[in-house]
């Protein structure tokens, strides 16, 4: 008796649970997406019209003037180029090098396997810190160079672990037979291992590309005196801190004076436009790599 009653109750309560759960998920989606839609609306809406308020998820008076303005600023044009360049160069170089290192530490016969692994993994536990790191870059004469974006981060230890775990899961026979055919380690790595490691490489590429695209602190710290090496995120960050310290209206004046057309844009519209420019590449790319990075996270997180 009691059992059948609880069964009937539970199926009703199950349905209530389902409904609540779906409502909760929809709320979550709204909270996650609303800010982006709001930025989208502000970036395509006429700046003076936006001042009147009540722009939420859709532009009221469509215009491309905000984008026109943003890309006509020479430093933002540069910044977009440098952001793209560091993302592409940084990702290719770092992923190739990390994969090569991961291959060497995945070879069971390699005599330095343990030594190399430990040397790298140990660095996850400490760092010299900000000041010694800065002085090192200064001593190496890398201040105000493009390479300061690439070289200090060339190997990611977590990424190395992800790739290594993946290579260790490949059938050993493949590498054996390559050796028998007379291929050296580099050929085996480049011709056999790399093509088979694509899922892991996709994961790691996404991590590195996102890191590169989103970086602003290294620009701030090492290259803030070279305007030709600025990045999108750093330019956006500077806009944020101006609007933080001075009142919004004086920032608007500064923009207007700089451009000479007082009516065209406002700090809010420029910031929204920059936000869209700075996040659209990521929004487009990451969903396609989802199945890879979900797997990569689990492998890297649990196996390390």
């Amino acid at each position: 008796m009691a059992q059948s009653k609880s069964f009937r109750n539970s199926s009703l309560s199950d349905r209530i649970f389902d409904v609540c759960n779906i409502i909760f998920m929809i709320l979550l989606v709204i909270v996650t997406l609303y800010p982006f839609l709001n930025m989208f609306a502000l970036s395509f809406n006429d700046a003076n019209d936006s001042v009147r308020g009540d722009i939420y998820i859709w532009p009221r008076e469509w215009t491309l003037r905000n984008f026109d303005y943003v890309f006509s600023e020479s430093n933002i044009f540069y910044a977009t180029f440098i952001s793209a360049a560091r993302t592409i160069v940084g990702t290719v170089v770092s992923v190739f090098c990390t994969a090569m290192l991961a291959y060497t530490v995945s070879r069971p016969e390699y005599k330095l396997k343990k030594f190399v692994s430990v040397t790298f993994i140990f660095t996850m536990y400490f760092s010299g810190g900000l000041i010694p790191g800065y002085l090192l870059i200064k001593e190496l004469d890398m201040l105000n160079t493009f390479w300061v974006y690439i070289i200090p981060g060339i190997i990611g230890v977590f990424n190395m672990i992800v790739i290594r775990s993946f290579i260790e899961g490949l059938p050993e026979g493949l590498m054996e037979s390559a050796k028998i055919d007379g291929a050296g380690d580099f050929i085996t790595f480049a011709r056999i291992v790399l093509p088979l490691t694509v899922p892991a490489l996709a994961t790691v590429s996404l991590f590195v590309a996102v890191y590169q695209w989103n970086s602003w602190f290294d620009v701030f710290l090492y290259n803030s005196s070279s305007p030709s090496l600025t990045t999108l995120q750093y330019e956006l960050m500077k806009m944020l801190s101006t609007s933080n310290t001075s009142s919004a209206s004086s920032a608007a004046d500064a923009f207007a004076n700089a451009k000479g057309n007082a009516a065209a844009v406002t700090p809010t519209s420029v910031r929204a436009t920059m936000t869209i420019v700075a996040s659209v590449p990521i929004i487009i790319v990451y969903p396609f790599l989802q199945k890879y990075f979900v797997k990569g996270m689990v492998v890297g997180g649990v196996k390390g």
Binding site: F7, S10, S13, F17, D18, N21, I22, F24, M25, L28, V29, T32, Y34, P35, N38, M39, C97, M100, T104, E109, K111, L112, V116, I121, T123, F126, S127, G128, G129, L130, I131, P132, G133, Y134, L136, L140, I154, I155, D185, F186, F189, N214, W216, F217, Q233, L236, L240, S241, T268, R271, A278, S279, I282, I283, Y286, Q290, M297, G301, V302, G304
Partner: protein, 328 residues
């Protein structure tokens, strides 16, 4: 060329010797075998040099913590001051304030982030429509990938006097005039905690969802036959099923307790909330790069690294002892 020849000779003589007294020369065999792995060595050596230069060499910079450092001077011309920088640091009122902020903010992030991501993972797991579930998951990962600069811009826009938060709260009549949220110090920790959850909660579910898939489905079937409701199954099967992963992640997060993040505090912090937003990393940046007190900044950074190191090693050892895990 000469070098290569030399190695071959060494290899030969070493080979003969190894033959003459086998067993006694494990050391030599090691080098013989290693010398056959020139390509592997060539493929890892550049990175060994890299890791030495970029990760280990900066440790030398810790000597600055014991100097009255002037960038223009050579290492040998620096004035050594012993423990003075540390003494000054531990007497500095501000240091205790940033230490408090660091610990409070990372604790809030830890508890908030931890609970919300487990709850979200459990709820996602209960969604029956796979397409809906996938869509929600994909959307929930989005904020993780955008930069802190963009996230801070979003937060500032939402919290502005005419921003959505004030609009909603005014409409619901929780407040009767717009609040300058980022201008009030005591709100900062809550804002930061909520922002961190917004940004990372979806991403953090990945590991729990993976753990849930490894729970034996027959347990659910048995529970269903026994008449357990969805909530009961969630509490008595799913949650205990992922307990080892939960405990593991908790321990690892405790190891990172001094890492409360830097970008969010730096970008959302301002003159009005500085007493609550400034953490250890910002303290180091401020003293080192802006006030040129390299010695004091390095001492603070060194303090942080050493304490973190102890926490991390301890956390790692506990995780290992539990047997569950191989997290680093």
């Amino acid at each position: 060329m000469e070098l290569g020849k030399g190695t071959v000779q060494v290899e030969k003589t070493a080979g003969q010797m190894a033959k003459s007294n086998a067993g006694a020369s494990r050391f030599k065999t090691f080098f013989i075998e290693l010398s056959k792995q020139k390509m592997l060595m060539l493929m890892s050596l550049p990175f060994l040099i890299w890791v030495f230069v970029f990760k280990y060499l900066p440790l030398w910079g810790w000597t600055i913590a014991f100097q009255k450092f002037k960038p223009a001077r050579d290492f040998f011309d620096q004035k050594w001051v012993g423990w003075d920088n540390f003494k000054f640091l531990f007497q500095e009122q501000q240091f205790y304030r940033v230490l408090r902020n660091t610990l409070v903010m990372s604790s809030i992030n830890l508890v908030f982030g931890f609970v919300t991501s487990i709850v979200l993972a459990l709820l996602l797991n209960e969604l029956r429509n796979i397409f809906f579930k996938r869509t929600v998951q994909t959307i929930s990962y989005l904020p993780y990938f955008i930069s802190w600069v963009v996230a801070s811009n979003i937060v500032q826009t939402a919290l502005a006097p005419e921003g959505i938060i004030n609009v909603l709260l005014l409409k619901m009549q929780f407040i009767d005039h717009p609040v300058l949220w980022l201008g009030v110090g005591k709100y900062f920790w809550g804002i930061l905690g909520a922002t961190e959850v917004w940004k990372n909660v979806g991403w953090n579910t990945i590991i729990y969802l993976a753990a849930i898939t490894s729970i034996d489905p027959s347990q659910y079937e048995a529970a269903e036959i026994d008449g357990a409701s969805r909530l009961q199954r969630m509490f008595y099967i799913t949650l205990p099923g992922i307990k080892p992963v939960i405990v593991l992640i908790l321990i690892m997060n405790l190891g990172h307790i001094l890492e409360s993040g830097f970008e969010a505090q730096y970008l959302l912090g301002n003159g009005m909330n500085v007493d609550f937003s400034e953490n250890l990393d910002i303290f180091v940046l401020k003293y080192g790069m802006q006030m040129n007190n390299f010695g004091l900044a390095t001492a603070a950074g060194m303090f942080k690294t050493l304490v973190s190191f102890i926490f991390l090693i301890t956390a790692n050892n506990i995780a290992k002892r539990m047997g569950e895990s191989r997290l680093y």
